[in-house]
């Protein structure tokens, strides 16, 4: 699949090679700097994520990619810089508030709720859509039951979409790694996010699992029109999936553009020289 060359710094919609129209930017990071004590994790980085696109963040280990995702979903608060989400400057919010704004994510080290089943995990993804009062829940009457049923139906569609019917009621702790990753994606999808952050969705997977996961990511993007930002090490996957790529190294941005552009970028090539990546 070859992608059309798209200008990297474009504020407005553009059209990809396969004819998809990418909307305007939903998330703009402006001059983000993040420090831990004296350590600078992210240094003055700016980039944007457009509606409907798959945006990849790549870079060698320790480049600050995960920190970047953590900034986007409010787990870390940058010392400097602005975050503009859906056209408005975002004030520092707690992670759960950001979740309610429609940003969902998966984690590099699976962060599923081990004591719960696949279904329950996916249902936790629906929590942002559930607001029945305690009393109704206590009596399991009226809205509580209705809401549970509706959201169960939604969760079941995710289960169907991810083809994990057979592990529906298995506690996730017992699942193999690849399936856990899939369940985690399901949990994020259940939130019906407008922006989905994936932190190394294919880490530790075999070829077949990677193919499945790539297919799911593309399908999510296509079917639900979800904007996706992902971190991934596997370059071939990134180049196939992503519409545009940000390259980070030592907390700085060293490249930004379509996969082709990035591939030819000298700074990127230098950064990756000698860096072994799988």
């Amino acid at each position: 699949m070859s992608k059309q060359k798209a200008p990297s710094e474009r504020q407005n919609s553009y059209v990809t090679a396969d004819g998809r129209t990418i909307g305007p930017a939903v998330m703009e990071m402006k001059n983000i700097t993040l420090r831990f004590g004296g350590v600078i994790a992210i240094q003055g980085i700016s980039f944007d994520i457009h509606e409907g696109e798959i945006r990849a963040i790549i870079g060698p280990n320790g480049a600050g990619k995960s920190s970047m995702l953590n900034v986007i979903n409010g787990f870390y608060h940058p010392q400097e810089g602005k975050i503009i989400y859906k056209g408005e400057v975002r004030r520092p919010l707690k992670p759960f508030e950001i979740a309610h704004q429609g940003i969902a994510r998966t984690f590099q080290n699976i962060a599923l709720f081990k004591g719960m089943t696949t279904l329950d995990n996916i249902m936790t993804g629906r929590l942002t859509h559930m607001n029945t009062g305690m009393l109704s829940q206590a009596l399991w009457w009226g809205k509580a039951q209705r809401e549970e049923t509706e959201n169960r139906a939604f969760a079941e569609r995710i289960i169907d979409f991810l083809e994990i019917q057979s592990i529906r009621k298995v506690p996730v702790g017992r699942l193999p790694y690849g399936l856990q990753k899939r369940v985690e994606l399901g949990r994020a999808l259940a939130a019906e996010p407008s922006l989905l952050l994936l932190d190394e969705p294919m880490a530790g997977m075999n070829v077949e699992e990677k193919e499945d996961m790539s297919r799911f990511i593309l399908d999510v993007n296509e079917e639900f029109g979800t904007t996706i930002a992902l971190i991934e090490h596997d370059m071939s996957v990134v180049m196939d999936l992503a519409d545009r790529v940000v390259v980070m190294d030592y907390g700085k941005k060293i490249g930004d553009g379509t996969p082709d552009e990035v591939r030819k970028n000298q700074a990127v090539i230098d950064a990756y020289l000698g860096v072994s990546h799988d």
Binding site: A99, M116, M123, T132, M134, Q145
Partner: protein, 358 residues
């Protein structure tokens, strides 16, 4: 072995999500409830009631409450005794302030008061985790008990510092105080127990329960997927305290009749309830109930065996009781660290798979 589940298919989410999806389970539980309500009251003796059944039901409620907090929400608390005291003293205050209020309302209101107190003592949980939290809940335990013995307002300035449950009538039958007939006390406790177990089940299977469990399993991830840790933890503290408060109120007005905070709601109660849920199984309604039954009945049975049956001197029997309970706790934890609930789950699984081993 006992299960015949073939043909039990669910055509709606409601039926798939019900508490006992297997028909035979449902029937057994329903018939147990039926027996509990309509058969046992005719046979219950005062001894059975006060030695085993009432404490079982009352501590069962407390165990349900603590399990919500500790088993479902993952916040270990050693303050249950203190919260029971809040329940008992608020019940006393409410009963003496509103002499005509129905006993059920008194107990429920006491629970609510305890809920508010629990909310306050739950606040540190937003910053403190794990063992650290457990130890800081001791503050609730000791402070509350101290307060109840210290400030005479709580015991209506009575010289003795004791609070005494006065008599209430419902349909001309005493429903609190000393003259409550065993079946009446039993039925009142049973009503609370069954409805609170029902509510606990409902709360833990819905969105609130999932929030709690998410916080328990991985609090950071929970927050990132949109769980507000503040409301999740505090709601667990609050609801758990309501349960424990209700149990304290029942313990006071239907079981002891008269209590003093230091005597009746000491740290040993906190440990007892914690034991119940651990032996029973964290994060399990059944576990709370089984744990309560075990820890209430076992000492009585041991004592009856050793003293009445084997005619041992009471002090030896009492030493042995400690020894055996301690050894049993260790033994159960070794055999199944996740308690009776897991044991039962395994047995049930075995029965369902019978004759296959797995």
């Amino acid at each position: 072995m006992l299960y015949r589940e073939v043909g039990e298919f669910k055509t709606s989410y409601q039926s798939d999500q019900q508490t006992f999806p297997i028909t035979s389970d449902r029937l057994v539980v329903l018939s147990l409830i039926f027996i509990a309500f309509f058969v046992i009251p005719f046979f219950i003796t005062e001894y059975m009631a006060s030695a085993i059944v009432l404490p079982f039901l009352i501590f069962g409620i407390a165990a349900l409450g603590l399990n919500i907090l500790t088993g479902y929400c993952g916040q270990v608390s050693l303050g249950s005794g203190g919260f029971m005291a809040v329940g008992a003293y608020s019940c006393y205050k409410i009963m003496t302030s509103f002499p005509d209020l129905n006993i059920f309302f008194c107990v429920i209101l006491s629970g609510l008061v305890t809920g508010v107190v629990g909310l306050a003592f739950g606040l540190p949980s937003l910053r403190i985790k794990g063992f650290y939290l457990a130890v800081s809940t001791l503050a609730a335990q000791f402070f509350l008990v101290w307060a109840f013995t210290k400030f005479p307002w709580f015991f209506n300035f009575s010289a003795s510092g004791q609070i005494t449950a006065n008599e209430r009538l419902m349909f001309d039958i005493p429903v609190s105080g000393a003259n409550v007939a065993a079946p009446v006390a039993y039925l009142i406790c049973l009503i609370f127990f069954v409805s609170l177990a029902f509510i606990a089940r409902n709360l833990t299977r819905g969105s609130l329960g999932r929030k709690w469990m998410a916080i328990r399993d991985m609090d950071i991830a929970a927050e990132i997927i949109g769980v507000n840790p503040l409301t999740a933890k505090l709601s667990a503290f609050c609801i758990s305290s309501i349960y424990i408060g209700i149990s304290g109120a029942l313990l006071f007005c239907l079981y002891f009749g008269a209590v003093e905070a230091g005597d009746a709601f000491g740290i040993d109660k906190s440990f007892l309830i914690l034991f119940m849920i651990i032996i029973g199984g964290l994060g399990s309604i059944f576990g709370s109930i089984a744990g309560a039954a075990f820890l209430v009945a076992m000492p009585v049975i041991l004592k009856n065996i050793m003293v009445d049956f084997l005619a041992w001197p009471v002090d030896l029997a009492s030493h042995f009781e400690f020894l055996i309970i301690g050894a049993l706790i260790v033994f159960i934890l070794i055999v199944e660290p996740h308690g009776f609930a897991m044991l039962w789950r395994i047995i049930k699984e075995k029965l369902r798979l019978w004759p296959f081993p797995h």
